[in-house]
């Protein structure tokens, strides 16, 4: 199959998001799509698969002009799209999720569960996934859900597979398995569009790479003929030399510590650690190691069975998030869509939320002061938006992430917990986030970062704690540690 | 100056012929054949005489009724016929008409305050009493009786209930159970079935209106028992049932006549005639013997 997109344009209202795009995709090759947050990658693929109508240009498939009325039509035609944001039903089972909209029926119209189960097991086998088919999706981790999304596309008649940041929630192990699958698919003649902000992945899997910027295609090249620096230059329009900026601010005394934390739900045991002012402490580990759960419990979202949390020598009693916030603890959650943002609200209303009480004068809320505060923040974080009153739902994924970041930076935290802070964020923006972290550290903030991105963990942390199945497996210094050392602790030699 | 005039029923109102009159009619609810009949009779009579009438439905809500009456007052109608949702809470509505000097005639239910030109009504307490007497007469003074009451809190529920129960006590009737069926036929069907499960040897059922009596009738038929059924209202369907022997008796009121008499009172008032302070619309017992005589 050969897809040719010519002169594609797309605008939302007066906001022109895609301009004169020309791109060709072929069976049997992996074509990487790169670009800053908001460059238009997801939108282009949504136009291709019929979620949005194009406002200009045309698409032809194997020489014939084609435009899909909806994603289903594209899927029936052989084009599957694993979306950046998960499209699942938390209260339905894995099996139901896999086959929604493409159920297999017996003669007479009734569902053929047996056949569906068999096919699902087959797809899982190829992906090396082992999740019972009658588990509710909502009880799975984000990474597991992502694997289910990938498995879905295996069940369709697959000619072209679009993957929009499939690894953003995956750890090393799942990522490697995914790459193996991509190789098999490629060998079977499936064409793949691979969208990712992780540079090393692009060079591992793709044959061609296209760089987009501001809704336009800057260049398409065989991957072998380019390098990281060139790609980055084309993406951001300037040179970036060090991806992980140097941090040379001094590290102070211990300001935050937890000891002997035990989860009420049995998700982790006997967790103790401390963080110093100005320190960036990274938490690494495999999917499901319990890192997120530890942070949620500290912040008062989940219940603790026992353990103490101490800030500046004072033992804290945190029953719910507002207590943590009042003590100057911020927490950027892993799932920005359901826990980090109110999607239908403006940037301003989102950013101001945890700090709103501080804009109250004599009982009344000072909207003007809040607006100035928010504008400063989003300028600092270079959020790409038409104004601070733009709805968050209309922002690109990476810019949404920056909004969540702005929200927590805004409370001037003493301790900032970041769970996957650069998930889905482009190289340029990542750097900005790292710089921001450094700056905060420089001001004496203690930062705890949970990350599944190993190079990031090694690149910016002062110290690394590795978790394994709900316990702390060990510690490593940030500088000088190697991927192998981290992985060994994470798997405990499994 | 008419305001004062109406107070002592002197006919000092400016003379107007029926075709010159504009009259507001406030009905408690048109969700009930009884009041529909009243409404239709008024409209038909008004049409014949060229009177302009506007009818408002209070949907059984006292404050909606107050609003309706005040709308009439602000439109400066010549007279208001009002069928109160409730005899107490109608008082301010009547007073506001009084203040504007607009004569008010109460229909079916009285008003416990304010000044009305006339009240055209049949007595609900009396109706309940009459039903109790009919039960005793047909089944003896010690008969076991079930009572189906109307919408809790409605004035007709209260009055009919009081009339019936006081008289029943006096006569010695054994009212074994009383449950509400909201003046509703379907509810009455189920409620009666349930009450029959719990109570044996029931001789008669008293329903506070005919809709419930007709529902009870169905329940009794389904149970295969022989039980007398007594209603209040005199719906045409009940007449048929009485003739067929499936309902024993009903205390008939005459909603159409009440409406006509009220409108006539308004005509008389503007014709310079003296209007009686209370006009009694008679109630009477409909049994197999007289079921053909009167229908709404």
């Amino acid at each position: 199959m050969k897809i040719e997109m010519t002169h594609i344009a797309k605008s939302f209202g007066s906001n022109q998001v895609l301009k004169d795009i020309n791109l060709t995709l072929n069976s049997g090759e992996v074509h990487a799509l790169m670009g800053e947050n908001g460059a238009g990658k997801s939108t282009l693929m949504n136009v291709l698969t019929g979620l949005f109508p194009a406002t200009g240009g045309q698409i032809s498939i194997d020489g014939e002009t084609k435009s899909f009325a909806n994603p289903k039509e594209a899927e029936l035609f052989g084009i599957s799209f694993i979306h950046q944001e998960m499209n699942s039903w938390p209260d339905m089972t894995v099996l139901e999720n896999l086959f929604l909209g493409r159920e297999i029926k017996r003669a007479g119209g009734l569902l053929n569960n047996k056949e569906m189960k068999a096919r699902a097991k087959d797809a899982f086998k190829q992906l090396g996934v082992n999740i019972p088919l009658d588990t509710l999706i909502g009880t799975l981790s984000v990474g597991q859900q992502q694997m289910i999304e990938i498995a879905k596309s295996f069940l369709a008649n697959l000619k072209i597979l679009i993957m929009d940041e499939p690894t953003a929630a995956l750890t090393e192990r799942e990522t490697n398995r995914l790459f193996a699958v991509i190789e098999t698919l490629k060998a079977k003649g499936v064409g793949i569009v691979y969208i990712s902000h992780r540079m090393e992945e692009i060079f591992k899997v793709s044959q061609f790479v296209t760089v987009m910027r501001d809704g336009q295609i800057i260049d398409t090249k065989p991957t072998a003929e380019t390098n990281v620096d060139e790609l980055v230059r084309k993406m951001v329009g300037r040179e970036i030399t060090d991806y992980y900026p140097r941090k040379d601010t001094p590290i102070g005394d211990v300001i935050f510590s937890v000891s002997h934390l035990n989860s009420a739900g049995g998700l982790f045991e006997d967790i103790s650690f401390e963080v110093r002012a100005g320190e960036i402490l990274a938490f690494s580990g495999l999917m499901g190691a319990g890192r997120t759960e530890v942070m949620r419990a500290i912040f008062g979202i989940d219940k603790l069975k026992s353990g103490t949390v101490t800030l500046n020598g004072k033992q804290l009693r945190i029953r719910k998030p507002v207590d943590a916030i009042r003590h100057g603890i911020g927490f950027l959650t892993e799932d920005r869509k359901t826990e980090g943002l109110i999607l239908d609200f403006s940037i301003r209303e989102n950013v101001v939320l945890p700090k709103k009480d501080s804009f109250v004068r004599r009982g009344l809320y000072n909207a003007k002061a809040a607006a100035i505060f928010v504008r400063d923040l989003i300028n600092r974080l270079s959020v790409k938006a038409t104004s601070d009153e733009q709805l968050v739902s209309d922002l690109s994924g990476g810019n949404q992430q920056k909004v969540v970041m702005a929200k927590w930076v805004g409370i001037s935290p003493k301790v900032l917990i970041l769970d996957e802070p650069t998930r889905g964020v482009d190289v340029g923006a990542k750097r900005e986030i790292y710089e921001l972290m450094n700056e905060l550290a420089g001001r004496g903030v203690a930062i705890v970062m949970v990350s599944s991105d190993l190079p990031e963990v090694l690149g910016i942390s002062d110290r690394i704690i590795v978790m394994h199945e709900g316990t702390i497996a060990g510690q490593l210094p940030g500088k000088g540690a190697t991927q192998e050392q981290v992985m060994q602790l994470a798997t405990l030699g499994e | 100056q008419t305001g004062l005039g109406t107070a002592d029923n002197a006919s000092s109102a400016a003379k107007k012929s029926p075709s010159e009159l504009s009259i507001g009619v406030s009905i408690s609810t048109t969700n009930n054949p009884y009041f529909v009949s009243m409404d239709e009779a008024i409209q038909a009579m008004a049409k014949k005489n060229g009177t302009k009438v506007t009818v408002a439905d209070a949907q059984n809500d006292a404050s909606t009724q107050l609003n309706n009456v005040q709308n009439f007052v602000s439109q400066n109608v010549d007279a208001i016929l009002v069928n109160p949702v409730d005899s107490d809470s109608i008082v301010p509505a009547i007073k506001s008409a009084n203040n504007a000097g607009i004569p008010v005639i109460a229909m079916d239910r009285g008003a416990n305050g304010g000044t009305v030109l006339s009240t055209v009504a049949s007595d609900n307490v009396e109706a309940g009493k009459m039903a109790a007497q009919a039960v005793a007469k047909a089944f003896g003074n010690d008969a076991k009786v079930l009572e189906l009451s109307g919408t809790p809190g409605a004035s007709s529920t209260i009055d009919r209930g009081n009339g019936f129960n006081n008289e029943a006590k006096k006569l010695g009737l054994d009212v074994v159970s009383s449950q509400s069926a909201n003046f509703d036929r379907t509810t009455a069907l189920n409620t009666t079935q349930n009450m029959l499960q719990a109570n044996k040897d029931v001789k008669a059922i008293f329903a506070q209106n005919d809709e419930m009596a007709l529902g009870a009738m169905k329940a009794v038929q389904a149970s295969g028992q022989e039980i007398g059924i007594f209603g209040i209202d005199g719906e045409s369907e009940t007449h048929t049932a009485i003739k067929n022997g499936t309902v024993t008796a009903t205390v008939a009121q005459q909603p159409a006549k009440i409406g006509q008499m009220a409108l006539q009172a308004a005509y008389d008032h503007f014709n310079g005639k003296k209007v009686e302070k209370t006009i009694n619309s008679p109630i009477y017992l409909v049994t197999k013997d007289n079921a053909d005589e009167y229908q709404w």
Partner: protein, 319 residues
């Protein structure tokens, strides 16, 4: 090993079932007349009216919608059917047309909700008023009883088969058909999908507009069926029939564990919810609780039943 998901689903129906049993035991304890074969059959007969509507409502609520017009559809379709019968139409045809009319009135709701993108609450509140008003206009506020006692019609509501009231048999059949539709077909999966995540459903190719029109059509048809049974039981169609039934149906669905947010719930739960409400109505009558207290008791029992269910769920989440 059985998965947690499935276990919890089963438990959910179980707590409600437990609530039902406890309620029945208490009532029987107070008045043994409650627990007789005769009364239990009675009870089943009495719950049919709410049952039909609640089954349809389950579909609606599963998509995250609501249907406040069910009672008005019940009244309007019954009245029109009674009118046709009065005008001499053969009974089976009138009965059939009654269901068609109910389905049509439901489809009108669905149309506004799906294609007009309007909130189900407000659409069905507006059509509730409009349909009820039309019923009153058509009947002129009077019950219709003319020629309503032909055998065919009477049998629907008053007949018995093997000693079981015929409406109960219709209810069992309706339940079975709708159960299969909801749990064993791709249409059923679409219903859950719409309620769970409408955007994802769209991407997965669920034709949300059609599904919405279909579920409101089902709800309308079930309301008409309920109306038929009532009309037949009373041998007359009253313009006020079905007033307030929407609340009982919704209460039954929620008592049965279906989430008002959509996407979660089962038809078996609804059946239990319907029975709880039926037992309450029947039992409180039999015990002889006064009309005033009856409302208080019903409110409290509903509150407690839902509370128990929530507490159980919370515990199971912590496990």
């Amino acid at each position: 090993m059985k998965s947690l998901g499935n276990l919890s689903k089963r438990f959910s129906s179980l707590t409600t079932l437990a609530a039902l049993v406890i309620l029945m035991v208490i009532i029987t304890f107070i008045n043994p007349n409650f627990f007789t074969a005769n009364n239990l059959l009675n009870l089943l007969l009495q719950v049919t009216a709410n049952g039909f509507i609640a089954f349809g409502m389950t579909f609606v609520i599963l998509t995250g919608g609501i249907d406040l017009s069910v009672g008005a559809i019940l009244a309007l379709s019954s009245a029109l059917a009674a009118g046709m019968i009065g005008a001499g139409m053969p009974l089976p045809l009138a009965v059939f047309l009654c269901l068609v009319i109910g389905a049509f009135l439901g489809a009108v709701n669905g149309f506004f909700i799906a294609y007009g993108k309007m909130a189900p609450f407000i659409v069905t509140l507006a059509t509730q008023m409009a349909y009820r008003g039309l019923t009153l206009v058509f009947t002129n506020g009077n019950p219709l009883t003319n020629k309503m006692d032909g055998f065919f019609l009477a049998f629907i509501g008053q007949g018995y088969l093997f000693g079981i009231p015929f409406p109960v048999i219709i209810m069992i059949i309706a339940f079975a058909l709708l159960f299969v539709l909801l749990h064993k077909t791709s249409f059923g999966k679409s219903v859950y999908a719409l309620g769970g995540n409408e955007k994802a459903a769209y991407i997965a190719g669920v034709q949300s507009n059609r599904v919405k029109v279909a579920i409101y059509t089902i709800s309308g048809a079930m309301s008409a069926l309920s109306g038929l049974v009532i009309t037949s039981r009373l041998s007359s169609a009253t313009p006020q029939a079905g007033s307030g039934y929407e609340m009982f149906a919704i209460a039954a669905v929620v008592l049965g564990g279906t989430s008002l947010m959509g996407g979660k719930g089962r038809l078996t739960g609804t059946m239990i919810g319907v029975l709880i409400i039926g037992v309450l109505n029947n039992g409180l009558n039999i015990i002889g609780v006064s009309a005033f207290w009856q409302q208080v008791v019903e409110g409290v029992v509903i509150l407690v039943a839902v509370l128990i269910d929530v507490l159980r769920n919370r515990k199971s989440l912590r496990m």
